[in-house]
Every structure is written in C-alpha cells, then in structure tokens.
C-alpha cells in the first residue's frame, strides 16, 4: 500500500510575457527557493527532484541537465517529464509516486517554461511527422473543430464561454502571480475581440507565459512535524489516449480520459457528489469553452448542464464550487508549469495561504491537468488525513 503524502510548501514566480531578467536555470531556482522557504526546508532536505518542461518548445535538449541544479539537483536524483500540457501535472503525480513508494521522504516538483525564448506554435506542429503535420490544425484549430461539436451537441453558447473568460481574468486580479489580469473585462469585450478560428476569439485563448512553479511533497511522518496544515493527497489518476484527433470520438463531449480519471480519483477519495464534496477546483482550461466541457466530464453537472453552472454563478468566487480562483490557464500559461500551478493553487487553498483569492473553509480541493489532444490527470487534496 502506498504511504500517505502531503504537500507542505509551494513557490511561484510572477508569470509574464517575457522574463528576460533571468535565464531558465535561474527561473527554476527562484521557484524552488520560494518553495523551500514556504516549507521551511533547506536544499539539503530534498531527497529527489522531478522537473516538468516541454523542451522542444524552446529548442534545447536536456532541460534537466541545464536547469536541474536550479531545483537543488546537485548530487541528487533528477527526473524530467514532458507530456504536453500535462507535463506539470504528470510531474506532480510522479513526485507523489516517489514519496508514496517509500523510496524518498521529501521531493520537489518544478515545472517551468519560457515561451518568449522559443517557437511554441512551430514546436506544437512538430508532432508525428507522418501524418499530423500535413494538415496541422494547430493549437487553436484543434479546439475550434471540437468546439463546433460541443456547441451542436450540448448547446453551449459563445456568451457562456465568454463568461468563463470574464470569471478567470477577474479572479486573476486577486492572484499576485497571474500574467493576465483584467479587472474591467466584460462579456461584450470578449465577444468583440478578434476571431482566431471560429468560434474561438483572442480573449477566449490562454496566453503563453514565462514562469516556474514548485511544490514540495513530504511523507506522512515528515509532514506532521514540518507543516501546520499540510495538503494531504487523497487521490491521483492519469488517463492517456490514442494518437490522433480523429481517433477520439466527439472529444470535448465524451472526453473519455477525463471521465475515467475523475471516476477513479473520486473512488479513491470517497467522493460521490463532486459539487457538494469538493470546496474548490483548479482545472486546466486552455480555452474558455474547454472549462465548460470539463465541468461535465468531471461530474460537476449532468449532461448538457455545463452552461447552467456558469450562468448561475455556481463556479464563481462565492458560488457553491469556485473554479480557478487563481485565474487558471486562461490567465497564466507557462506550459511546463501550468499543471504544477493547478496542484500548487489547490494546495494553497487547503493550507489557507490563498490570501485575497482564498476560498473560506476549504477541506477538499481538486486539481486537474489537460494536455495533448485528450490526456487527463486528476488529483484530490484534503486538509484531513483520515
């Protein structure tokens, strides 16, 4: 049986369009030292390091070699994970496995990306060379195609998607780390922004950001002494998919990977009614419409009811289940970090360190990672061990 594991500290850099004041190793160092301070640990306390980064986006091999020592990797075990958008959540889950297995007691997970230094769109088109590249629909295009199915099949509207953007960019104003903060943004502004690929508009899309995020896991014994209010890991689940968009039937509606991952995670955590049993969720929404698709796949609502959740303010701050108090991926998106940020922000909510973005009385939090065409990671954190 795996050991029990908690998150005892987090560290984030300010996310922005370009961090030219630091190179990549230093960016990783910043996030790691902040997490060590938050956990009141020294670098010598770290047993192992897990890194999350999409190296191809920045055109350099072996990010773990260049940047590993920024995460305290000197004379330690360092593992790097690159799984698209889920890089950060895969890395977070891998770090959990390393402590849960009993091999290590304290593990830091650091995800980062510097999109300003690379060619992300080109790199994203460098998928399998035999097939996908020839009619590449790109990051926006592949969503746009699936969104047409979501709108036709589930009745989601452009206004509902715009409300997701407004929620995110306003929530981000209370997050000192967020890249995009828009206190005055309105649905009308979103709906009149430039159309990229129908129906996805500029303000519906996530940014590309520079930044790093670190979380520190501890075994049960170390967590009890080290941290006043650790965020205990109650459940983890990962589900991956077939290689081509065309293999995945009605992707955003069916989303079989996320449904399966959520079902498994809820089973592990003893959750039967997510809307009631969860107090906050940090989910990975690269485009506003995706958030609505995830509501349904995560079981926050019945089939076809996702639009209702946003219309009725259920997922707003102050609603029954606040989703993305941090502003989500729609506001900050250094790809290698984005999945770690979801876990970090969920942990911050449990630990009561959310400051202005704190949801009152959080006991159970969900963190979700999404990547590639349909990969899914789900993690559930709790303030209670039992």
């Amino acid at each position: 049986m795996p050991r029990r594991v908690a998150i005892i500290g987090t560290g984030q850099t300010k996310y922005s369009k370009e961090r030219n004041d630091v190179n990549q190793m230093e960016l990783v160092y910043k996030a790691t030292t902040k997490a060590l301070d938050d956990a009141e640990l020294k670098v010598s306390d770290l047993d192992a390091i897990v890194l999350g980064n999409m190296e191809l986006f920045e055109g350099r091999a072996l990010p773990e070699m260049w940047c590993g020592e920024g995460a305290g990797g000197y004379l330690k075990s360092v593992t790097k994970i690159a799984t698209g958008g889920t890089s950060g959540s895969s890395a977070a889950i891998a770090g959990f496995y390393q402590v849960a297995s009993g091999v290590f007691d304290i593990v830091v997970v650091v995800g980062w990306e510097k999109h300003s230094e690379g060619h992300t769109q080109t790199a994203m088109a460098m998928v399998d060379p035999l097939w996908d590249r020839h009619v590449a629909s790109g990051a926006v295009g592949n969503f746009a195609l699936s969104i047409s199915q979501l709108m036709a099949g589930r009745g989601i509207t452009e206004e509902q998607a715009a409300k997701v953007t407004v929620k995110a960019r306003r929530n981000a104003c209370r997050n000192p780390y967020a890249h995009l903060q828009m206190p005055d943004i309105t649905v009308e502004e979103v709906l009149s922004s430039r159309m990229l690929a129908h129906p996805v508009r500029l303000l519906d899309m996530c940014p590309q950001s520079d930044g790093a995020c670190a979380i520190i896991y501890a075994s049960e014994e170390r967590a009890r002494t080290a941290c006043r209010r650790p965020a205990w890991v109650k459940a983890v689940a990962t589900r991956h998919e077939q290689p081509y968009l065309g293999d995945i039937e009605n992707r955003l509606i069916i989303m079989r990977t996320l449904r399966a991952a959520a079902k498994e995670a809820y089973r592990q955590a003893g959750i039967s009614q997510p809307l009631r049993d969860l107090n906050v969720a940090e989910i990975y929404e690269p485009v506003s419409y995706a958030e609505l698709a995830w509501y349904e796949a995560l079981g926050f609502c019945d089939e076809g009811e996702a639009g209702k959740l946003i219309d009725e303010g259920i997922t707003e701050m102050g609603g029954q289940l606040p989703v993305n108090p941090s502003g989500g991926v729609l506001c900050s998106n250094p790809v290698g970090a984005s999945g770690v940020i979801r876990v970090a922000e969920a942990a911050i909510q449990i630990m009561g360190k959310g400051e202005e973005r704190q949801v009152p009385g959080v006991k159970t939090a969900l963190a979700h990672g999404y990547g590639v065409y349909a990969w899914a990671d789900v993690m559930i954190l709790s303030s209670e061990l039992g």
Partner: protein
C-alpha cells in the same frame, strides 16, 4: 539594471522519419492509385485512418485493409482567420480558410482537412463533402488540396 543580453541561435535541422510498412503502403496506394486505405481492427472492428500496426483500444495487430472513399461527412468544422503556411507550397494559405473533421465513407475515425467553404452560415455538422485532388500526387494526405461541400 545593466544591459540584458539575449543569445541568438539559428537552427537548421533535418530528419528522416521511417514510415513503417503500414504507412508506407498507405503512401504508395495514395500516390500510385489515388486511393485512400484504412485498416480494420479484428476485435473492435473500427476502421482507422491513417492505417497503423496496432489498434490502441484493443492492443491488437491489424491486417485487414479497407478501401475508403474520398467522400465523407463533416463531424466538426471551423473557419480560420489566422494565416498558416501551406506545408506543400511553403506559401501562406489565404485567409479565411475552412477546416473540418471529416468521417470518410468507409472509415470510423475522422481526418482533419481543409474546406473550401468559408461562409459559416453555410457550414454545419452532417454536410456531405468530397475531396478535391491536386494534379500531382506525392503520397500524403495533402495530395488532397481540400474538401468541397456537395449538397
């Protein structure tokens, strides 16, 4: 603050990716006969494009080749307002341009391809489409220039 330096690295990289026997047969048939081949899983019966060795759902090897038509049905669509480089000509595709997820007649997976129709009022899921082929075939799905709506 002192002057901040950026180090610039130009890269010119070349690769040769092996196709394997399945994709190789697909390429040959496409180029030599102008025909699209799919492959059927013996267990779940799904016909896949592009053809490949294993069905990921069942983890079974596939060997039953299926002729797939160059007509099909739109399952999802979008109109792009962003320029993108056409990988065959190297020139930017004129905007706007349409793209769709198309279930070709005979296949169970969809392919992603260009659409000549760019008027959103005329596009919906369920429309029938037909391939428009380029005059010179090289053995890629981009030998089809785009699909046009046929109803």
């Amino acid at each position: 603050m002192n002057e901040l330096i950026n180090i610039e690295i130009p890269m010119a990289l070349r690769w040769q990716f092996g196709t394997g026997r399945h994709f190789s047969r697909f390429i040959q048939t496409l180029r030599n006969e102008g025909k699209i081949l799919g492959i059927r899983c013996p267990q779940c019966q799904r016909v896949y494009i592009p053809p490949r060795l294993i069905c990921g759902n069942c983890y079974r090897e596939m060997a039953e080749w299926v002729d797939v038509k160059d007509t099909g049905v739109i399952q999802g669509y979008t109109v792009y307002y962003h320029p993108i480089l056409d990988p065959v000509t190297g020139e930017p595709r004129p905007i706007p341009y349409g793209m769709a997820l198309i279930k070709l007649d005979g296949a169970d997976t969809t392919i992603n391809h260009y659409l000549s129709e760019t008027d959103l009022a005329k596009l919906r899921i369920g429309l029938k489409v037909r391939a428009v082929w380029r005059s010179q075939r090289r053995g890629f799905i981009s030998d089809i220039s785009h699909f046009e709506v046929i109803q």
